[in-house]
């Protein structure tokens, strides 16, 4: 254990501050930046709409389909925005109102009310679903995936490129210990970067909610959701990390394992049940507290890739993922025992 810790301590600096680490940080911080941007946008909207006249919802709700635009204007008063345009033979008109909570668009065709579209100025429920989508479709599938590729593949392959791996091989350390020490270093770095990124983005999500929504959420699910997202991110690092560490031991070109793994994870939902269990994403999706939305109008290929595998329960996902990680690490230690150093000398 002592040797594992010494190796991890020596390696951790490299894992955090390697030349290739910048884009890892960018990937980790992207969702936080996204939700901070959303926070700024909501803040701006709130300020803008606070200054605009509110039309009572009861008036807008009373306008049936077929109402003329003139009658609507007479009933609801002047809109916030009035847009008119022609497409083919149809004259379109959109009257934009605000009822104090929702933004409402009355859509007219040839002067008759066709549809009423209502969007809350901001919806906490919708935001949590968007967060779930960003977390599962971007953060787990891409950011943590490629981040771990950068961190863990570098642990062995990077040292071979730098011609410094023999420093470790010339220490009185079992290769298994070396693999575990390096893995721990990578895992600590990845967990801090991506776990921190997950918490930061979650905090950014909460930062712009109304006090009522926020209070309710904090009293109910907020802590549990935050912890599950954190756990999913950390376990994602553990799972993908083990795979890319092993890949770095046996393959020269990082593109190949990345593409194979990405394909494997993408088609996981269509694999037989037994093979689904050999996927990191299979377990991670089960840990996410809010199901990710899947737009029914999305292209079939995108739906195929994004549709989740049959979920495992959260409590079977945890040991399942750890078991997959342990299996991959075991294979990595076997590969490390056979690993040779040949920098192209004699």
């Amino acid at each position: 254990m002592n040797q594992i810790w010494i190796i991890a301590r020596l390696e951790i600096r490299r894992a955090f501050f390697s030349r290739r680490a910048l884009w890892v940080y960018l990937l980790a911080l992207f969702p936080a930046a996204l939700f901070l941007g959303r926070a700024a946008s909501v803040h701006y909207d709130r300020r803008e709409y606070a200054a605009k006249p509110a039309t009572p919802a009861a008036i807008l709700d009373r306008l049936p389909a077929g109402t003329t635009d003139k009658d609507a204007l007479a009933a609801a008063g002047p809109p916030i925005r009035d847009r008119q345009w022609r497409r083919g033979e149809v004259e379109h008109r959109s009257l934009h109102y605000f009822d104090g909570y929702n933004r409402v668009w009355l859509q007219f065709e040839n002067g008759a009310l066709k549809t009423t579209r209502r969007l809350p100025l901001h919806s906490f429920e919708q935001d949590t679903r968007i967060y779930a989508g960003v977390f599962q479709y971007f953060y787990l599938r891409l950011a943590i995936f490629f981040g771990c590729l950068g961190i863990f593949l570098n642990l062995f392959r990077g040292e071979m490129i730098d011609k410094s791996l023999h420093y470790w091989f010339l220490a009185p350390v079992r290769r298994e210990t070396l693999v575990l020490g390096k893995y721990c270093a990578g895992l600590i770095a990845a967990a801090v970067i991506f776990g921190g990124g997950a918490l930061l983005s979650f905090a950014a999500l909460l930062s712009y909610q109304t006090s009522a929504d926020l209070e309710t959420y904090l009293q109910t699910d907020a802590l549990a959701h935050g912890l599950w997202y954190l756990l999913a991110a950390v376990l994602g690092c553990a799972g993908y990390g083990s795979v890319f560490l092993a890949a770095g031991l046996v393959l020269r070109n990082p593109i190949i394992p990345a593409l194979v793994m990405l394909l494997w994870e993408s088609i996981n939902g269509f694999l037989p049940e037994l093979l689904q269990k050999l996927s990191v994403l299979h377990y991670l999706q089960s840990l996410c507290p809010v199901p990710a939305p899947l737009d029914p109008s999305a292209p079939p290929l995108a739906r195929m890739i994004l549709s989740p595998a049959a979920p495992a329960s959260a409590w079977t996902a945890l040991p399942g993922l750890l078991a997959v990680t342990a299996l991959v690490l075991y294979l990595a230690t076997r590969a490390a025992r056979r690993l040779e150093i040949n920098y192209g000398g004699e």
Partner: protein, 310 residues
């Protein structure tokens, strides 16, 4: 198992289709052993096999009874200074040596003491707190040597250890090797500077094209080379008289008076007969200042066994 030899038993190693070493059988006793051969001959391959950095395709290697497949045991008795920088990025020279000792499991105070001593030994104390990235080639060479010796190993393997060292440090390093050898340890090194190898090696291993061409003490290797007659310089005041007398006594192939006035240059295939004849010259009253073999050195062995291109 008490075994103080480094053993290679029918060891072959190929890098894909490229030969590293082929069917090498070696028994290396303690002392200073130099691996000599042209670039690409297999010197580094042999050293890497000893250290377990590469594994034999066939055959077995053991270092004082320990298999290179057990690095956790082997590296406690072996220190290897490779040609390449090994330091993790950003370390100072001191931290580099210290971290290696901590990996050995030395308690920190002991590790600090050993690191300090090793760095002193290679005369790098003043630069110990500087980052290795800022070191010159010679300093890097020395810090690698410091790391290799810091845990006081029984087997020291050094790839071109004298490259880039200034004359003073070079002499101190050679003294260090001698000290190690005198304590019954192995010092295995490769060097291109054959004159230096001559001076400090107890034995040499000549390698060419992945094969061991000759091994042993320089003199005994020379004695096995029958196709090349021996060359001597007989230091005496009367070289012409000595030449005349020697031709009557011994199977001399050629005798020339040294143009520099050092004495008589003699080429003979019959070393023992020649030695007896020289003794008789002395008995007959010829003043002899000394007899110096001119081709009992690594340079000559290299030339005879491997040829040019060193």
């Amino acid at each position: 198992m008490s075994d103080d030899l480094i053993r290679f038993d029918r060891v072959s190693k190929f890098y894909g289709d490229v030969l590293g070493v082929n069917k090498v059988d070696l028994r290396i006793p303690p002392g200073i052993t130099s691996l000599v051969g042209p670039n690409g001959s297999g010197k580094t391959t042999l050293m890497n096999l000893m250290a377990g950095l590469i594994h034999p395709g066939s055959g077995t290697v053991s270092v004082r009874g320990i298999s290179p497949f057990a690095p956790e045991q082997l590296m406690r008795i072996l220190g290897y200074a490779t040609q390449y920088d090994a330091a993790p990025r950003g370390l100072t020279g001191f931290d580099f040596v210290l971290s290696g000792l901590l990996l050995h499991g030395f308690p920190r105070p002991d590790a600090v003491r050993r690191a300090t001593h090793a760095i002193e030994t290679v005369a790098l104390t003043s630069a110990a707190r500087r980052k290795i990235a800022a070191y010159s080639k010679g300093m890097r060479q020395r810090i690698r040597l410091a790391q290799a010796i810091a845990h006081d190993p029984a087997v020291l393997v050094l790839d071109e250890p004298l490259n880039g060292l200034d004359p003073v440090v070079r002499a101190e390093t050679i003294a260090l090797f001698r000290d190690y050898a005198a304590r019954g340890r192995h010092v295995i090194l490769s060097s291109h500077v054959l004159q230096e190898v001559d001076v400090f090696s107890d034995q040499v291993i000549l390698i060419a094209n992945g094969m061991v061409v000759a091994e042993g003490a320089i003199r005994s290797v020379r004695e096995e080379i029958h196709e090349h007659p021996s060359q001597y310089l007989l230091r005496c005041a009367e070289p012409a008289r000595a030449a005349a007398l020697l031709f009557t006594h011994a199977g001399i192939l050629e005798a020339r008076i040294d143009p520099g006035g050092a004495g008589l240059l003699v080429i003979t295939r019959q070393r023992e007969a020649f030695a007896l004849a020289v003794q008789r010259l002395a008995v007959d009253g010829l003043a002899i200042d000394g007899l110096e073999p001119l081709d009992e050195n690594v340079d000559a062995l290299y030339e005879y066994l491997i040829g040019g291109g060193k």
